[in-house]
């Protein structure tokens, strides 16, 4: 069990390992260029002693983790390790699963988001989510992007729609067919539309649950570029089973292993080059999971 005190983690990332990778994974060099992203001490989401049960089954064990503002945090681990469960705890999507029972504390900007007086709907308006399979609504592209604004009772303007689509790097491809059905787009375009839909409402945090796993390599690389750009404005938490992807795009990485245990959480480089825990090293080098 990882009883990591996250405040202890080194502020500087200077101690880069010379040996650049354990198994040929190129770790993102973005940390150098966007040095300001790493080390931001502003915590958006704090998780303390989080346990989740599905009926009798324990899906998460005593997770402690802080997610920092304007960073990409990747969560990796073998399937069934609870990484999606953790993600769904952050915007209380687990409320929709009746058997799920959440214990412990998750704080969003310092507020306990599982408090009695907290409205999960209001919470989700500020913590957006993108799902594994693209799930645009069977409406026009415009209406898809406008959906969040509408349900939140905010004004829909063409500018907002255009900005969201531009931010999602989709504008140039769809600007002439905004009134056509979103179902006619390709899978990659649909997923970027879902991202545009999520960022149209200006959330503080965007959660992504394996957003590229159902896509082809070209679409995947577009999504990855997009995530990199998004981190300048938003806090992004991404679950992925693809380690290369995590290494390429994230600033910090959390490794969950079977049983819902958070084994290690640190700067991405550290995780991929010099992990503390042997199990993490085994997992990253492919000996495990």
């Amino acid at each position: 069990m990882s009883e990591k005190e996250l405040d202890d983690e080194p502020d500087s990332t200077d101690e880069e390992a010379v040996d650049s990778s354990l198994m040929g994974i190129d770790v993102a060099k973005t940390t150098d260029e966007d040095g300001d992203r790493i080390g931001s001490t502003e915590t958006v989401i704090e998780t303390r002693n989080l346990d989740v049960y599905y009926g009798e089954e324990r899906a998460l064990q005593d997770v402690n983790m802080d997610i920092h503002e304007r960073e990409v945090t990747a969560i990796i681990g073998p399937s069934g390790c609870g990484k999606s469960t953790y993600l769904r705890c952050i915007n209380r999507m687990n409320d929709l699963v009746e058997a799920a029972n959440v214990e412990g504390e998750v704080r969003f900007n310092g507020t306990d988001m599982y408090g009695d007086d907290i409205d999960p709907v209001a919470l989700r308006r500020r913590i957006g989510m993108v799902f594994q399979h693209p799930n645009p609504f069977p409406k026009s592209i415009y209406d898809n992007v406008a959906y969040g604004l509408r349900v939140q009772g905010r004004k829909v303007t063409d500018e907002k729609i255009e900005r969201a689509l531009r931010d999602a790097a989709l504008w140039d491809e769809v600007k002439d067919q905004l009134d056509e059905s979103a179902m006619d787009l390709s899978g990659g375009q649909q997923q970027r539309l879902c991202i545009a839909r999520a960022i149209a409402v200006d959330p503080e945090v965007i959660l992504m649950d394996e957003p590229a796993s159902a896509l082809d390599p070209i679409a995947t690389s577009k999504i990855e570029d997009l995530i990199d750009d998004l981190a300048e404005e938003y806090t992004v938490v991404i679950v992925t089973h693809n380690m290369q992807q995590a290494a390429r795009i994230s600033d910090r990485t959390a490794v969950f292993l079977t049983g819902g245990e958070l084994v290690e959480y640190d700067d991405t480089e550290k995780i991929f080059e010099n992990p503390d825990d042997d199990r993490v090293e085994d997992y990253i080098t492919g000996k495990f999971g």
Binding site: F108, N109, G110, T111, D117, I118, D119, V121, A122, R126
Partner: protein, 370 residues
């Protein structure tokens, strides 16, 4: 920053009017759902209310064991057994028609039929369940009874008359009369021509097989049977389609033919579904009203015992038809006869409810078979 956090906490709370609105919608919708319970309660209350008054006047034992049902003539008697026997006759007759045909169609559709054939045949069969029952009743009375009552039209074409016999469906032409409806007018003048001279040849069998009345249980039960075929075939087919393909493949892998797979793998595995479809279909037959009222007539009687066939060629009265008869009788007021309708209704309701519950239990009991 701390100030922003305060507003954060505030904005994460759910505004009261939103809570109230969602609660209002939830309650409105739950009210709609609860209305179905009100319907059930309404049915039970209205049936038992009338039935209780009735049983205050006529003892329940007499009602359940009496063998004479004559509520409208002379001194009224309220024995429900003749009605139950009528219903039973219709149920047996329709079961003979529907259960094998429905099962056969279900096996065919599930195991043998080409998907394109199934796409046409299944909805076509289901139309049978959607035809208004009054049209079935009309068909049974005006078309089916005369057809059953006449020799096969084929005989005149195919079987030369000098052979000296005819091929009847139901040999009512053995008698020499033309079916008459109560009004005294020949029901089917066009069929009087068909009475063939060869009837004389076999006329010694007259005493064995009685003639078919204008109202008879036979055509009613055939028609009810046709109506419930789709209930049997659809539900059974669903049960058979639910049998996992791995079972079929295992049997084929052991060298079974399609016949073996159908009869010894699929049908046994789907037994619960088939049985529950049978029970549901028969419960539908019990509750069927218009066909039996129109085609089977309204003369309540206990079953003929040794001569079982006569039960079908004669007119019978079933429970539902008795209700229609009492309702149609003018100005009864709050008499025991009027209230007896509620007692029959209650009997019907309890009977069909029990059958539906049995069907559901059977389905559940054996669902974990695979």
């Amino acid at each position: 920053m701390s100030q922003q956090r305060d507003t954060d906490a505030q904005s994460l709370q759910r505004p009261e009017f939103v809570v109230r609105k969602e609660r209002l919608y939830r309650r409105l919708l739950a009210g709609c759902a609860a209305l179905t319970i009100a319907v059930t309660l309404g049915i039970i209350l209205s049936l038992s209310g009338g039935a209780l008054t009735f049983f205050g006047e006529v003892s329940i034992v007499k009602f359940l064991t009496g063998t004479n049902w004559s509520p409208l003539v002379g001194t009224p008697e309220y024995g429900v057994l003749p009605l139950v026997s009528g219903t039973l006759i219709i149920v047996v007759g329709s079961a003979v028609v529907a259960l094998p045909i429905g099962l056969g169609a279900a096996i065919y559709l599930s195991e043998y039929a080409d998907p394109r054939v199934r796409a046409v045949a299944k909805p076509a069969l289901e139309i049978l369940a959607g035809v208004p029952t009054v049209i079935y009743g009309y068909f049974a009375l005006v078309y089916l009874t005369p057809i059953l009552d006449a020799p096969l039209p084929i005989e005149q074409v195919i079987i030369p008359s000098w052979l000296g016999f005819s091929v009847p469906i139901i040999p009512s032409w053995l008698t020499f009369s033309v079916p008459i409806i109560p009004g005294g007018v020949p029901l089917l003048p066009e069929f009087t021509l068909v009475v063939s001279e060869f009837t004389l040849v076999v006329s010694e069998f007259v005493f064995v097989i009685p003639s078919l009345g204008a109202f008879n249980a036979l055509s009613a039960s055939i028609t009810v049977g046709i109506m419930i075929i789709p209930m049997v075939s659809s539900i059974s087919e669903d049960a058979m389609s639910a049998v996992p393909d791995s079972l079929r493949e295992a049997a084929y892998g052991l060298g079974s033919t399609k016949f073996d797979v159908s009869t010894s793998v699929v049908v046994p595995a789907a037994t619960s579904g088939i049985v529950s479809s049978y029970v549901l279909a028969l419960s539908r037959a019990i509750g069927e009203t218009m066909i039996v009222t129109m085609a089977a007539g309204q003369s309540p009687k206990m079953p003929y015992f040794p001569n079982v066939l006569q039960n079908f060629t004669d007119s019978v009265e079933v429970m539902t038809a008795a209700i229609i008869k009492i309702v149609s009788a003018e100005s009864l007021g709050q008499t025991a006869t009027y209230e007896s309708m509620f007692a029959i209704g209650l009997t019907l309701f309890v009977l069909t409810l029990a059958m539906n519950i049995i069907a559901e239990l059977v389905r559940r009991r054996f669902r974990e078979a695979y």
